[in-house]
Amino acid sequence: MKLWQKIYILTICLFVILLNAGIYLVFDMTYRKDLSSEQRQAESEYHMIASGILRNLRSLDGQGRLKELPIRSVLEIHEKYFANQEVRLTFWKDGRCIYPEGGETPEPAVPDGESRIWIWGRGEKTVGVQSLLYESRGKYYLRYEKALSELDASWEQLERKYLVASLGFSLGLAALLFVFLRRMMKPIGNLTQTVDEMRLGNLSARVGIKGSDDISLLGEHFNEMAEKIQKDISFIEGEVQAKQELVDNFSHELKSPITSIYGFAEYIQKAKVSEQEMKECMGFIMEESARLLKLSYTLLDLAQMRGKEIGMQRVSIRNVYEGIRRTLEKLGADCGVNLRFLCGEEMVQGNEILLQSLLYNLIHNGICACREGGMVTVREECLRGRVCLTVEDNGCGMTEEEMERITEPFYRADQSRNREDGRTGLGLSLCQKIVDLHGAEMNFLSEKGKGTKVLVLFP
C-alpha cells in the first residue's frame, strides 16, 4: 500500500471516530441536563399540586367529608389543569386506589415520608414523584407521572439530523483529503520515478522542484547527490579511458620498433636481397633498436623518479645549459633553427642532471616545433623573488585542447610528423615529473601558428 493511501485511511478513521465520540459526549451531557431539568420541573409541579390537594383534603377533613367521591373530584380538577401535558395523577389510601377510579395501586411503593423520582426506560420515558400526602384514619398517597415523549421525540430528530450531517462531513473530508494528499504526494511520486530512472542507468535524470517543504528539500538534496554521482562516474570513466589510451599507446610504441626489427631481419633472412638493400635494412634495424633503447631509458628514468628523493644542491642555470649546449646547437644547426640563451647568474635549488634533462627536452621540443629559420629563446627572469625559466619558440604552436593533454605519456600534438624524428612521446611527461620533483610549476602559453612559451617557475 502506498504512503498516501495509508495516511488517507488513517486520517479518515481518526476523523470519524473523534468526531462521533465528541458529538456523542456533548449530546449525552445535554440530554442528562434536559432530564434533570425535567425532573426538577416535575418536582416543583408535584409540590404545587400536592400542596393544593393537601389544602383541599384538610378542608374536607375539617368538614368531615373525607370520602372517596369528593377526593376524586378534587384530583380531577387538578389533573385537568395539566391535561395537555400528559400528566397522570394517582391517589390511593392504604393500598386502595381512589383515583383514577378502579385503578391499581402502583409499584414501587415509596417509604412513608419520602418522595421519589424515577425514570423508566427509553422510548417511554416517564418522570414520576410519589409521597405520603396526608394521614387521617389511614394513609393517603399521591403519585405524579409525566411522560417525556416530547423530549424523546425532539432528541430522536436531532440525532437523525446529526447522522446525516456527520455522513456528509465525512464524505466531504474524504474527497478533499484525497485531492490534497494526491497533490502533496506528487513530488514523492516524481522522486520515485527519478530514482527508478537513475537505477536503470540514466544518470542525468533530475527531479523537478517546486515549493520549499521537506519533500522539495529532499528533492534538492537528491539532485545534488545525483550531480555528484554523475560527476564522479564521468571522472572515473575519463580516468579509465585515459588509462586505456596509455596502455594502447604504450603497446603501440613498443610494438612498432619490434615489428620493424623483426620484420627486416626476417626479410633479410628469407628474401633475395642485394648488398645495397641489405645495408638499407640493417640501417632500419639499427634505427629502430636505438628508438627502442631510448624508449626504455626514458621509461626507466620515469620509473626511477617515482617516489624517490633526489639529491639537491645550488646550481646555476647557466651551468646546466653549458652541459648540453653542444648537442643542442648541433641539433639546431641541423634543423636550421637559431638558439638564443639569455641568462644571468641565477641559482636554483635542484639536481643538475635532471635539470639538464628538463632543459634539453624543452629546447628540443622547441626546435622540433620550428620550421627552418625559426628561433628558440631561453630566458631566465626573477618573478616576485622566484626564478622563472622560459623556453620560447616561434614554431607551429598548439591549440588549447592539445595543451591540456601535452604532458600525458605518448601524447603527440603534432601527429603528422610523429616518430620519424626518433622522439618517444614521453619527453614532456618526463619534464612534468622533474618539475614536480623540484616543487616547481610548469605552464604553457601557446597560439596555433604563432609559437609556444613554456614557463618553469621554481619555488
Binding site: D248, H252, E266, K270, A271, Q415, N418
Partner: protein, 214 residues
C-alpha cells in the same frame, strides 16, 4: 599482381610491408594518414587495403568507412579481443596484430585476394602452371605431377621469392599433422626440379630451406 593500399604511420613498418608485398608480386601504394588515404581511394582502384588502427588524424576504424568495396585488413598493435571484434564487426576481412611474421602477412593477403579474384595461371620460365585446372605444362608438353608434388609447387608459387624452411614446407604442403622427415621435402624438391627443369628457380638457401625465385 594486385594493387594494395598501405596506410601506416610508422615509416619503417610501411617500408617493410611494401617490400614484403613486392616479393609476392603486389604493387603497393603507401601513405601515412587517413586524409591522404581517403583521397587515394577515391582516385584509384585498389584490390586490398591494409590499415593501421592508431593513425594520426583519423583512426583506421573511422577510415574503413571511406574504403567503399575495397577489402580491408587491419594491421595493428591493439591485440585485445575487443579491438579485434570491433575491427571485424566494422567489416574488415582480417585482423593482424603487430609484430607479425612475413609469411603470415602474405598468406593472409593472398587469402583475401584469392577470395575476390582467383589467380588463374603462373608462368615460371617456360613452365606454365594453371592453378584452377591443377595442370602443369613445360613448353607445349603436359607434365604429370603426383598430388604431393603439385601441392609443394603450389606452396612455392603462393610464397614466391620467400625462403621457406623445410619444416614450414612440410606444414604448408603436407599439413600440420604429417609426421614425416624433412628429407621428404628434399626428395620432392629434387623431383620437381628434374621434372620441370627448375634447377635455377628453386634455390637451396643454406641452413634454411628453399626459395622459388620469379
Amino acid at each position: 599482381m594486385a594493387k594494395i593500399l598501405v596506410v601506416e604511420d610508422d615509416r619503417h613498418i610501411r617500408e617493410l610491408i611494401r617490400r614484403n608485398l613486392a616479393l609476392a608480386g603486389h604493387a603497393c601504394t603507401c601513405c601515412s594518414d587517413g586524409m591522404q588515404a581517403g583521397e587515394l581511394v577515391s582516385g584509384q582502384q585498389f584490390d586490398l587495403a591494409l590499415l593501421d588502427v592508431m593513425l594520426p588524424g583519423m583512426s583506421g576504424f573511422d577510415l574503413i568507412g571511406k574504403m567503399g568495396d575495397v577489402p580491408v585488413i587491419f594491421l595493428t598493435a591493439k591485440g585485445e579481443l575487443e579491438d579485434k571484434l570491433e575491427g571485424l564487426a566494422l567489416g574488415a576481412e582480417d585482423y593482424i596484430v603487430k609484430p607479425f611474421e612475413m609469411l603470415e602477412l602474405i598468406a593472409r593477403v593472398n587469402v583475401i585476394l584469392r577470395r575476390s579474384r582467383k589467380e588463374e595461371a603462373v608462368c615460371i620460365g617456360n613452365v606454365h602452371v594453371d592453378l584452377r585446372e591443377r595442370s602443369v605444362t613445360v613448353g607445349e608438353e603436359e607434365v604429370v605431377l603426383t598430388p604431393q608434388e603439385y601441392n609443394l609447387l603450389e606452396v612455392f608459387i603462393l610464397n614466391k621469392n620467400i625462403a621457406l624452411s623445410r619444416e614450414k614446407l612440410l606444414e604448408l604442403a603436407w599439413g600440420y599433422d604429417y609426421e614425416g622427415e624433412t628429407k621428404t621435402v628434399d626428395v620432392h624438391v629434387q623431383k620437381l626440379r628434374k621434372k620441370l627443369g627448375l634447377k635455377g628457380e628453386i634455390k637451396t638457401i643454406t641452413k634454411l630451406g628453399y626459395r622459388l625465385e620469379i
